[in-house]
Symmetry: C2
Subunit: 420 residues, 2 copies
């Protein structure tokens, strides 16, 4: 895409009321727009990143047999009353509104209830199980404060998967597969090294739940990591009893601030029982379905990547989620767009695009310093500069955004670099 055509521009300053680093950088670089606290629109660059992230998650969810669907935002009160989660005193972050006839409806902040009700219409026998179903869907949570940019939104995108199993054994097997898929996802998102599968409070159906926590000073959580075993636990379960349970010693633990980028809950029969999701087992006996819930917020993941990997000059995207693979920057000669340099850059843009690379082509007539600053801020992994000086040497200048390494290479050598 030609940067001259992209309607967004970078800006020097983020809005004054924006305190989070992720939103400040993403707004300045033109990825997102702040509608109100905790509510962000995704502009063309931001949507591209979001689609890379959801693409990775979708692939891994499909590998484990997940069936994608799309539930609704508007929620039927009667379903949530059955599980006692309608009352604002019980669930304190509902947004609610009313139909014309006065009927109260909610805006979904999670989707156990409606999906359980759907499954109750389709599941009848043990032969129908296990099932894993997931969606990417906008959630609404009426947060009292929303100061963490796209990491904690009042409106945000969520991938939520739910599994439905006939017994604990079948559930445990599915859980293990999805746990492994989560590990792969965070690796592919470029935050695998600093993301820990973490023991956390379990609720009433299992001793622990599992959180995936990424080390970051911007995090709202505190975790304790045992460097030797790689085990981690949330501060909320740091007791002598739990340490003994996990075979950990307090002295070995390292404290880290962290961001919860994913979580898994054993739901047991908490939803299947009140909502009538049962099946007949091999003996013809009616049994409640065992459920699990697996959350991963693509917008929170995007914010986390920015928090963790950016530097003083701007964003640093991993190749896997970058909006473009290459930022091609031309420094025009005196003849401008129609000069030798302009034409060489046009040709390279055309070649790279034909080869299937996603290229943002900075064809704007601006000073080199402005173009380079924009490029660093936007954070595309590879920057190629076509200039009079480089052309005279028969070379292209290639900068690796993450390492800062700059090299001069021929166009022939470029292919090898891009293939990596």
């Amino acid at each position: 895409m030609r940067q001259s055509q992209l309607f967004t521009k970078t800006r020097k300053e983020a809005p004054k009321d924006e305190v989070s680093k992720n939103a400040q950088l993403l707004i300045r670089a033109g990825y997102i727009h702040k509608e109100m606290a905790g509510v962000y629109s995704f502009l063309p660059l931001g949507l591209r990143v979001m689609e890379k992230i959801t693409g990775i998650i979708r692939e891994e969810m499909n590998v484990v047999g997940g069936q994608e669907l799309s539930l609704t935002a508007l929620q039927d009160k009667s379903l949530w009353e059955k599980t006692d989660r309608w009352d604002d005193a019980k669930v304190d972050n509902w947004f609610k509104t009313k139909l014309k006839n006065g009927t109260e409806v909610g805006l979904g902040m999670t989707h156990e209830e409606p999906l359980t009700a759907i499954m109750a219409e389709y599941v009848s026998s043990y032969r129908d199980l296990p099932i894993a179903a997931y969606q990417f869907q906008t959630k609404f949570r009426n947060e009292t404060r929303a100061k963490s940019g796209i990491m904690r939104g009042r409106e945000f995108l969520m991938k939520d998967m739910y599994t439905f199993s006939k017994d604990e054994k079948e559930h445990a097997a599915y859980y293990a597969k999805i746990h492994d898929a989560y590990i792969k996802i965070f690796k592919r998102l470029g935050i695998g090294d600093t993301t820990h599968a973490t023991f956390a409070a379990g609720g009433i159906f299992s001793k622990y739940s599992e959180e995936f926590q990424t080390e970051s000073e911007a995090g709202e959580d505190l975790i304790y990591v045992d460097p030797k075993s790689g085990k981690a636990l949330n501060k909320e379960v740091l007791t002598d009893e739990v340490l003994a349970d996990l075979g950990l010693s307090r002295a070995d633990l390292v404290e880290k601030k962290s961001i919860e980028v994913g979580n898994i809950f054993n739901l047991g029969t908490k939803f299947s029982e009140p909502l009538g999701l049962t099946y007949l087992n091999e003996k013809g006996e009616k049994q409640p379905v065992i459920m699990g819930c697996y959350g991963l917020g693509p917008s929170r993941a995007m914010g986390t990547i920015v928090e963790v990997l950016s530097d003083e000059n701007g964003i640093v995207w991993p190749k896997s989620v970058a909006p473009f693979a290459i930022h091609l920057v031309v420094l025009h000669d005196k003849e401008g767009k129609d000069g030798t340099v302009g034409k060489a850059a046009e040709e390279l843009y055309s070649d790279l695009t034909k080869q299937g690379y996603e290229v943002l082509f900075d064809d704007r007539e601006l000073r080199p310093g402005e173009k380079f600053a924009d490029s660093d801020l936007i954070g595309i992994p590879l920057r190629i500069v076509v200039s009079e000086k480089n052309l005279a040497e028969g070379k292209l200048e290639l900068k690796h955004r993450a390492s800062g390494k700059v090299e001069k290479i021929t166009e022939a050598e470029l292919s090898a670099v891009l293939a990596k």
Copy 2:
């Protein structure tokens, strides 16, 4: 995908309160689930169709230079007050809710206001124009009645594009490009022949708006088509003056009931003026931006396709939007899945999938009649039956869902049919 793995099943009856044909068929075939009147979840088959439809629309929007983004559902009251569209007395289908601090927010039923406000931050010169930006986004409209299935939802998916031009000439040129894109889209969706670009009431900024109306008895609109010229007009503008204006004679017109599947509005400066979206022209003079709005609802399009193309046995998808290209149905012999027929079907499933075809493989152990009825209801364009009888003849049975034509062909001949 194996049908034995798909969690949805067909059903004999739609919910009793469902009166629309599109929702009845889509629910019975397992494409959608009714959450409440006008609010439908999209199950795996339904989401596949929706993604085919949005894929086609996205391609054509990109061809005309549209930049995709994603705005929010939650809407800031102050923006809408500037255009006098906040008051329920002015706009009667708002859903509204409140933040914890009591601030009232709305759920977007359209997005002129927020996008105009965003553009005001990025547009400064005539050089920045024209811009076309679009999104696929969930809209919320508090309809008093919602009885048309997925054709008129309280919550529904919408593609809305907006153009920003420096003057009427630039606007007219962009409008013409998008008009042509719409014609292509409806053709690709399989409803081109019965969809008419229709003159309709224009609002305050132009004499007419343009509606794309698909002939259907399920429609809420009444249009008049001149078969000779191909021109059509909505009943709301059927006056002698308009007929003279369009060069039409009342006697030539044929009345049709129709569904509005798309529309284009000339917005002029209705939004740019109150929201401060201006640019400096070549002379350095400040001018308001001229806007256009281009709507097309993928869920309404999906409902329309079902209304228009289905028959007494079920849905008939055009190839372009079908959830799968091929419905492969095996009629097992006495040995069941491990018999000769079962193995031959498995092999064909594997071959077709490797060749990149999207195949729904009905590997369930059910009676032939049930399988055929399900296949007709689900409506995949090509049905291939592998059975003992067909295998003995060295043939496959191929049924074209739309025409009902059945032919016996060899596996070698199948490739030619599929390539069409």
